[in-house]
Structure formats: C-alpha cells, structure tokens
Symmetry: C2
Amino acid sequence: MQLNELSDRSGISPASIKYYLREGLLPAGEAIHATRAEYSARHVERLELIQALRRIVGLNIGQIRLLVTMADDGVPRLDLLAAVQRVVLSLENYATAIGGEPAAATDAVVRLRGWPDAPSDARNALAAHLQLMASLNIPASADVLKTYSRAADDVAGIDIAATTAPESIDKLILTAAVGMHMHSQLLLKLLALAQASHAIRRYQDGA
Amino acid sequence: MQLNELSDRSGISPASIKYYLREGLLPAGEAIHATRAEYSARHVERLELIQALRRIVGLNIGQIRLLVTMADDGVPRLDLLAAVQRVVLSLENYATAIGGEPAAATDAVVRLRGWPDAPSDARNALAAHLQLMASLNIPASADVLKTYSRAADDVAGIDIAATTAPESIDKLILTAAVGMHMHSQLLLKLLALAQASHAIRRYQDGA
DNA sequence: GCCTTAGGATAGAGCCACTATCCAACGGTG
DNA sequence: CACCGTTGGATAGTGGCTCTATCCTAAGGC
C-alpha cells in the first residue's frame, strides 16, 4: 500500500506519517522508485503502537523512538521491558549512583520483601526518590516504606501474569506499556479514593 | 519590598514575577503610586508555592491558578484539599456520570473496604478509569481490584496523618500537594521495583 | 531639575508535536 | 506520446505553553 492508504487504515494524517518517518519512529517503506514507496501491515501496526504510546500512555517522541529503535535492533525482550518500565513509570529522570541513607533504606526494603538483590533502574529511582523526599523534608519512615512495599509487592504479584502472548515485538511493547500505565493509574485512582475516604471518616469522627 | 528585592529573595526573575502577576497567580503588591508597589512576605511565600507546584509537582499555570484562586477566595479547607488531590493525582480529565458496569465495580470496592458511600472526584475518576480499561481490553478483575484497594487502603491509612499544622493556606497547599505527589511517586517507584523483582524471580525460576 | 530605575505593556524566544506548502518526478489515462 | 494528478521528500509555518527581552513612561533621589 502507499502513503494515502496507510493513512486511511491507521487514521493518521499523511503529514503526521511523514513526520514520524522523519523522526525515525516509522521505518521507511520499500522504495519502488523515486516517488513511490510500498508500506505493509507492519507499518500499520507500528502506527497503532505510536498512537497508543502518544495518546494513552503520554510518551513523547523521543521516548517512543527509544523503544521502537530497541525493538528494531532486536534487543532481548527483558531489556525491552525494562526500557518500557523506565519510560512509562518515569524512572529515567534520576541520576544513578545514589549512596548513603537512601540507598540503605532501599536495601532494607529489598531485604524485608525478599526481593532479589540486583541493581536496576527501579532500585536507583527509588533511592533517588527517597533522597529527594529527604531533601524536601518529607522523610519516608520505615513504617511508610514497610506498608507501601507490601502493597507494591501484593500488586506486582498479581500483575506479572499479564505479559504473555506477544505476537510481535510491537504488540509486546504496546500491551506492556499500556498495561503498565493503566495499572499504575488504577492504583493511583484507588489511592485517591482511599485517601478521600479516610479523610471523610476522620473529619466526621472528629466533628 | 519592591519587585527587585522580591526577585532576589525568591530567586525568580523579575520577568517571571511579572508574568505570574499577569496570569493572576500572584496578587498585586500594594500600589504606592503609579510606578511603585510594595510586596510582602506573603508574596515570597506565594512564589515559593508557585515554584514548588511548577518544578516539583509539575502543575501547569492554569492548575496553579485554580488552587491559589480558591485559597484567596477563602473556600473551606476540605474543598481546597479535594482540589489539590484533583490536580495532583490527575482526577480532572474524567467526565463525571459514568454508569453501568464500571460504576458497579466501583461501588463494590467501596463496600468491600467499608469506605463511606459518598460521591467524590476520586470515585468518578475510578469509575471512568475502569471504563477506559475495559474499552482497551485490559479489564480489571475483582481480584485485581481487591488487592489494589487493600494496598491503597493500607497506604492511605498511614498517609492521612501528614496533613497537619497549616500555618497558612499557601503552606497547606504546598505541603499537601508536594506530599501527595511525592508519596504517589514513591508508591509507583516501589511498584516498579516490585514488578522488576517479580519478573527476575520468575525468569530465574523458569530458566 | 536631571538621571537612573521601577512598573507596565507588548512582543519575541524556544520547545514540542504536528500541519501546510511547495516542488520535482513519475504513472496512468486519453 | 503527452499531460494531468498524485506521491514522496524537503522546508517552513502553526498553536500552545512558559517564560524572557524590549520599550516606554513616570517618578524618586541626588
């Protein structure tokens, strides 16, 4: 198919498709000659992925490019999933190599939960975040960490089954990213409702 | 103090301060005459609030204006806190009045947790989010909701004590918004680490 | 009474994600 | 065989957002 048909099938304007081509999110079609190129179902799928990552998950062009480049380079799926986690859960804005008290608190959480003692983006991000909280005078007590980490452990335990049946790399990224995003947002919404509920109860009992 | 001193004390450029004045985030100083205005400690505090909401929490100008307008209008603190929750936890992008299955699931969660059966932004957002998930073919099972809501309930239970000692309305907004943001991000980081840990264990056991 | 400076208004910058325009080349159609 | 319409490719423009820089007028201090 040619550009116009690709546009019709994906619902994305030709101008935007050209933009994605320029930005390296969408591989070039097979050039028939100077002014014709043939696109395939793979391009439709890629556009669906791009659309979902933009509109639903809210990633920017650079983040999407990172993911699709990894996919096209054929990096191992675990690395790919780690990258998805990094961009979807905003683990990327944290410098590595945090030391001192936050690192110790992070280690304590890992031991408490019996999680494998391996370095990861998530672990760095957690340590960095604890440091940030401390610097803002919002210390996270051991009690808070205990309760939060138990909650996270419980939730992660039932989440993990979701990453199955990847027909294609693009589909894998799509389901992983969208699923991760929606589940984290679900937890946040529930947290909001729980907070509101506790606040109501508290003010009613107090009044 | 005058504009330049306000700028020095807050670390915000005079141009930006003028911008905040124009946008209605910062009340005008007391006009001495046509070309002089006197600013007070209240303005410094307000600028700190604006800065924190922008840089740390990541709110945009419109969201900040909403909060400070409410504060200046003297709305009840509970309403103010609800508004803070709405913008910090992104409850605002959801239309109200969701019905059908998602609303039923939401009601079930409320009953299960023994939360007060009152309408709220959080409740609407939850129902809307469940609807969105269903439409994306990522249904949230009763099991998921049970585990997630228990986690949220636990976390909210220890969070609620944080909202104390508000010396001023601006400080109340600041601590509430920053605290809410940092705690929700903390939970997300822990969730990321938990997910990564479960994934590692799973792949190690499987391999 | 003059010169520096504050305040206020307006316009511009820089980033992002598109979107519209322009142009040369080619293929289908008559 | 010639021509019109469309395609692909490059480039420039748009709109929203958050500032930032410039300009001008009116005062206060010396």
